[in-house]
């Protein structure tokens, strides 16, 4: 994989391991992908597949002391984040590199005013010009929180779910980051509010031209926002494809399953499709392809060896024996 | 992981080494002009007129002088404020002549009026003085002139000397400042002057300049070579002795025998003993709980069945003596020939002859007031079980036991371990706890009750010392015949002092006597 001028973030064989009493767990196992400038990438997968750990690895905020990034490189603007000191990372975080957590109710500190929490990205990156409070109000305006002048002094518990999520997004975009990771930003919200929030994110993306990694298990969200999709399964990327290709010609059996499990408007179904079985336990990973036990097209070798990554098109690659050139 | 551990060990070692290299005398030694005496309790009052407990006496008497005091070396009574006594009308009147020249700390002379005032106030029931009852013997005090007064007794009172220790207070000062001020800042004519009292901490006294202010015949009063005497309350035994070891205290009394060994290892501590202190530990049989306790054979079984010498050897570590009668060594009437030597066979025979039914449990009660009570109780239980008794031990809190005793409550059990702090004259005790008409008597229906009561009353009125001693001997005979319980032992007084002071206990005294006579050696 060649780093070109447009590449903002590139992960090379990143492996994040948790050392627990029950044993080692590779939550992220040799993940490589890249994100271009201004690109919105969807990272899709079931819960527990390592999406969130991947994003925390990028932020270098894997929960300590159990978790550790044991291998790989994370290149951000061509600089390896793994080689940065803690202080350098802190300066990047909240400035060039930002993230939005999924549940605003727990992601906001209930004991501090929204304004205090909004102001922190400015305050700790020496970006305060004029009144910090005004900056926070402008930020709330930007994410369309009504009456920001009074709302800025409110506490999170006085905010509704949608408004909290907006405030959380505001914190993420305060310093117009180059990369924004949104970890299931709409999961905790009801459908109409979720749509509003997504619309907001789209607008902000256009305005700031930030790259976004949208982590979700909801393909509909991906379709609305993303240009490219990464499918993750049991700690590994199994398929990378542009959004249209992904919906029309999914390659990996897991991706196919995912798409078939989405109800489509106007197409009557008796019963919604679901992929049978459970994702493998992190403590007992199958030797071969991790999806093989649930895959209806699995062959013998699928159980023996992990499939190599096969490039189907320039921007579409898959890790599955079905496509392997042997 | 290993490196920080090693570093920690290193730091630990360094700190430890510093511990040992630093000279030992970081805590400053006691200042030279103060003598510190450690006591386990709080003085309940510094006011002579309101003394409630015997334990208040040693501190209060430092500030006051009395008519009679014990001679510091022999323990015999000698005149202090009183130059002479004259017994008139066969003991019904006693004429007292005071020394001239004695002065209160205010500078006023001590007169017969002050003596009368003090005795009247101490006898006044509203002051709650512990002597109020005993002073009822006095009908009136007549002041003849400034230095002569006559005590009028209702009847001749043989132990009249026992009433002469009261510390004389200044009437003039009392009337000037009122009872409130007097209570918090008393004035006397003693060797030491009151400075301050902090409840829970200490009482501080100052040596009066130029004391003694007059010459007393036969009493070697001297000038004291220190300035302050501090009586410090340290309730915990271990702490008190530790303070004696470090020199934070100069003098500590009532040391238990098992604590001596450790103190002896410290070359800065001197241990002294007195075997001439009133001390009597015994078991009372309580007939009102169960009439079987009146059985003479049962009582004798207990008396013969207890190995007193073993108690003295094992628990007192030899610091005491077996006692078989109702009077200790320091007391009038003590007879070393009375003995119930340990004899298990004899004890068993007496028990067989008694009305005690085998297997009936008898409750043995003890409180923490007697030193080492749990050990002693357990040992007694062993002895008595060996004889054939069934004994159940019961520990009571002191206040509860005191109330049960006063109310003759059956919950007190069949026997009780007690300690009599003692006095040198048995009269008060006899009349209170033995006279069958007394509210406090445990045995009220002796077979020879009338004879016994008559003897007690007679010895009170017998002014002839030899005749009185004979009466007391007869009383002791009846007591040893009756089932009143078993006396166990008398304990030596062990007291320790730092090597900067010297002090000797006055014989026959129960509480720290003559504390002012502590000498600073260095």
């Amino acid at each position: 994989m060649q780093t070109n001028q447009d590449t903002l973030l590139e992960l090379q064989d990143v492996t994040t391991t948790f050392f627990t009493k029950q044993g080692e767990v590779r939550a992220v196992d040799g993940v490589s992908f890249s994100v271009n400038k201004g690109e919105v990438v969807g990272l899709v997968g079931e819960s527990g597949c390592g999406k969130s750990v991947t994003s925390l690895s990028i932020m270098r905020l894997v929960p300590q002391p159990a978790g550790k990034i044991v291998a790989g490189k994370i290149l951000f603007n061509s600089e390896d984040l793994m080689e940065k000191t803690n202080e350098e990372m802190r300066q990047l975080r909240g400035d060039r590199l930002s993230m939005i957590l999924q549940d605003p109710m727990v992601a906001m500190n209930q004991l501090l005013t929204v304004g205090t929490q909004l102001g922190e990205p400015y305050k700790f990156h020496d970006k305060v010009s004029g009144s910090l409070r005004d900056m926070c109000i402008r930020l709330l305006e930007k994410v369309k929180v009504p009456a920001p002048e009074s709302r800025v002094d409110d506490y999170p518990f006085q905010f509704s779910g949608g408004m909290s999520q907006r405030a959380l997004i505001a914190m993420g975009i305060a310093n117009s980051p180059d990369l924004l990771i949104a970890d299931e930003p709409t999961t905790a919200l009801d459908v109409t509010i979720a749509a509003q929030v997504l619309k907001l994110m789209k607008e902000i993306q256009k305005e700031t031209d930030a790259s976004i990694i949208l982590i979700t298990h909801d393909l509909a969200t991906v379709a609305q926002l993303c240009t490219r999709v990464l499918v993750m399964y049991a700690g590994r990327i199994v398929e990378t494809a542009p959004i249209k290709t992904f919906y029309k010609h999914p390659a990996h059996p897991y991706s196919m399953g995912l798409i078939r499990s989405v109800p489509v408007l106007g197409r009557p179904v008796d019963r919604l499709f679901s992929i049978e079985g459970q994702p493998p336990s992190l403590f007992a990973m199958p030797k071969g392809c991790r999806f093989a036990p649930r895959c209806n097209r699995a062959e013998k070798r699928c159980f023996k060896q992990y499939p190599p990554e096969t490039r189907l098109e320039a921007d579409h690659s898959v890790a599955c024996w079905l496509y392997a050139e042997d | 992981m290993l490196r920080p551990v090693l570093r920690l060990c290193f730091i630990g070692t360094v700190i430890f080494m510093i511990f040992f290299i630093v000279p030992v005398s970081t805590v400053s030694a006691a200042s030279d002009d103060t003598v510190r005496v450690g006591i386990p309790y709080d003085i309940s009052t510094v006011n002579m007129l309101e003394i409630k407990l015997g334990s208040d006496i040693p501190v209060v008497l430092l500030m006051h002088q009395s008519l009679l005091i014990p001679h510091p070396e022999t323990g015999e009574r000698i005149g202090a404020l009183a130059k002479s006594f004259e017994i008139l009308e066969n003991g019904k009147k006693i004429k007292v002549t005071l020394y001239q020249g004695a002065k209160f700390h205010t500078g006023d002379p001590v007169t017969a009026h002050d003596v009368k005032f003090t005795y009247d106030e101490c006898a006044n029931p509203s002051n709650g003085n512990l002597m109020a009852g005993a002073l009822d013997e006095i009908e009136e005090i007549e002041v003849k002139d400034d230095h002569t007064l006559i005590f009028h007794f209702w009847e001749a009172y043989a132990p009249w000397e026992e009433l002469m220790w009261l510390g004389i207070c200044s009437k003039k000062y009392y009337e000037k400042v009122g009872p409130e001020k007097f209570r918090s800042n008393p004035v006397g004519s003693g060797a030491l002057r009151f400075v301050e009292r902090r409840i829970g901490e200490h009482v501080l006294l100052e040596v009066v300049k130029g004391y003694p202010l007059y010459d007393v015949e036969g009493y070697p009063e001297e000038t004291y070579n220190y300035k302050y005497l501090k009586v410090i309350t340290v309730p915990d035994d271990m702490t008190r002795l530790a303070m004696l070891e470090t020199g934070e205290l100069d003098l500590v009394g009532r040391i238990q025998p098992h604590q001596v060994k450790r103190l002896k290892r410290n070359k800065h501590v001197t241990i002294k003993k007195s075997d001439q202190v009133p001390s009597l530990v015994g078991i009372a049989f309580l007939p009102y709980t169960d009439p079987v306790m009146m059985d003479r054979n049962l009582c004798l079984a207990a008396r013969y069945g207890i190995n007193r010498q073993e108690i003295v050897d094992k628990i007192l570590l030899g610091e005491g003596y077996p006692l078989y009668m109702y009077a200790s060594r320091a007391e009038l009437g003590y007879d070393p020939n009375v003995a119930y030597e340990y004899d298990l066979e004899k004890a068993r025979e007496f028990l067989k002859k008694s009305s005690y039914k085998k297997g009936t449990p008898l409750t043995f009660t003890y409180t923490s007031m007697v030193p080492n009570a749990p050990l002693i109780a357990a040992l007694i239980q062993q002895y008595l079980q060996r004889v054939g008794f069934t004994i159940k031990l019961q520990q009571l809190e002191e206040g509860t036991a005191a109330t049960y005793t006063r109310n003759r409550d059956k919950r007190l059990g069949h026997m009780r371990l007690y300690e009599w702090p003692g006095s040198r004259d048995p009269d008060l005790r006899l009349r209170l706890s033995s006279l069958s008409t007394s509210d406090y008597a445990t045995v009220t229906n002796r077979p020879r009750r009338e004879e016994y009561d008559k003897l007690i009353l007679a010895q009170t009125r017998e002014m002839d010392k030899a005749k009185r001693a004979d009466l007391i001997r007869q009383i002791q005979d009846i007591m040893s015949y009756d089932a009143i319980g078993a006396i166990l032992y008398g304990q030596n007084m062990i007291y320790g002092m730092s090597d900067r002071v010297d002090y000797t206990w006055t014989p026959k005294e129960a509480y720290f006597p003559h504390l002012q006579r502590i000498k600073i050696l260095k």
């Binding site: 990047l92 909240g94 922190e120 | 902090r198 409840i199 530790a242 509860t400 919950r411």
Partner: protein, 307 residues
């Protein structure tokens, strides 16, 4: 808020009244009476009667109670049986000693407890954490009388570094304060460690780090503010304990003239007036501290404030 405080004050008054009533009767219906305890063994029945009358114990219990309340409402809490002085004065003469020792022990335990607790949570399994856990276990399980005796023997008698008992210099505080703060340190360490661990795992701490908030602010502003709510309950529990009960053993061993020892001695002497003043005072302090805790909660947690 004013209505709330008024309500709390009324509850406090009622609590004091209720506790006092219970103590008044339970104490007097117990097996021992003060006259028997106070009198020497050779006192006459006349003495006993006089003393009973003097203490006012000859009247029926109900009348004693009414009289006591009547006098107490006018600020007269009776005279101590033991000392003959007003009970109020006896208690408050001794209180400063307890207060001083308690404050020293309290400050030491809060500072050390929080420092070890927070540090252990931030760096789990570090040396400090391991050391802290062992110390906490020791502090929880070692009885203070044993610790006190060992301190006296080692630092007092063997090393001669510290004075054993009494007051006067700052050095006198070292041993009793240490002995007293051992348990609170353990308690605060354990609790602050566990609640800090919880707080540090939470999403708002991750979010704060995502925003690039420096670790110092993350720990103290975000994590500790949230973790402090349960810790404050314990801290104030410790404070009222230090002021009132847990000092008894330490005051006894180190001969510290505080109210813990006073109330113990007064109990054994059946000195009703002193114990009653103590009970009123204790209830008052506990109620006040609880009120303060509530106010602090409201100050820390806006959710309580806005209710």
């Amino acid at each position: 808020m004013q209505g709330y405080i008024l309500k709390r004050v009324l509850i406090a008054v009622f609590t004091i009244f209720a506790v006092l009533t219970v103590v008044f009767f339970v104490f007097r219906l117990g097996p021992a009476d003060p006259v028997s305890v106070m009198l020497p063994p050779n006192a006459t029945p006349q003495d006993a009667e006089n003393l009973t009358k003097k203490f006012g114990l000859d009247q029926p219990l109900g009348i004693q109670y009414v009289n006591y309340l009547k006098n107490a409402s006018q600020g007269d809490f009776g005279a101590s049986f033991r000392f003959g002085e007003p009970a109020l004065r006896v208690v408050f003469e001794r209180f400063p000693a307890t207060l001083k020792l308690g404050m020293v022990a309290f400050t030491v335990s809060v500072i050390i407890g929080l420092a070890i607790g927070i540090y252990s949570a931030v760096k789990p399994d570090s040396i400090v954490d391991r050391f802290g856990r062992v110390t906490a276990l020791a502090g929880m399980s070692l009885p203070s009388f044993w610790v006190g005796v060992m301190l006296i023997l080692f630092f007092g008698v063997t090393m001669r570094w510290l004075p054993i008992a009494g007051r006067g210099t700052l050095l006198h505080y070292v041993m009793p304060a240490f002995c007293l703060s051992l348990y609170p340190i353990a308690l605060i360490t354990r609790l602050s460690r566990s609640s800090m661990l919880d707080a540090l795992k939470s999403d708002y701490v991750v979010m704060a780090r995502i925003k690039g908030v420096p670790e110092f602010y993350v720990i103290l502003l975000h994590a500790f503010k949230n973790a402090s709510i349960p810790v404050i309950t314990v801290i104030f529990g410790v404070l009222s304990g230090l002021m009132l009960g847990s000092t008894v053993v330490v005051e006894y061993i180190f001969s510290w003239p505080g109210i813990g020892r006073l109330v113990m001695e007064s109990y054994f002497a059946r000195d009703y007036p002193v114990v009653q003043v103590f009970v009123i005072f204790v209830t008052f302090v506990v109620v006040t501290l609880n009120l303060i805790v509530d106010i602090i909660y409201a100050y820390i947690d806006p959710r309580i404030r806005y209710q």
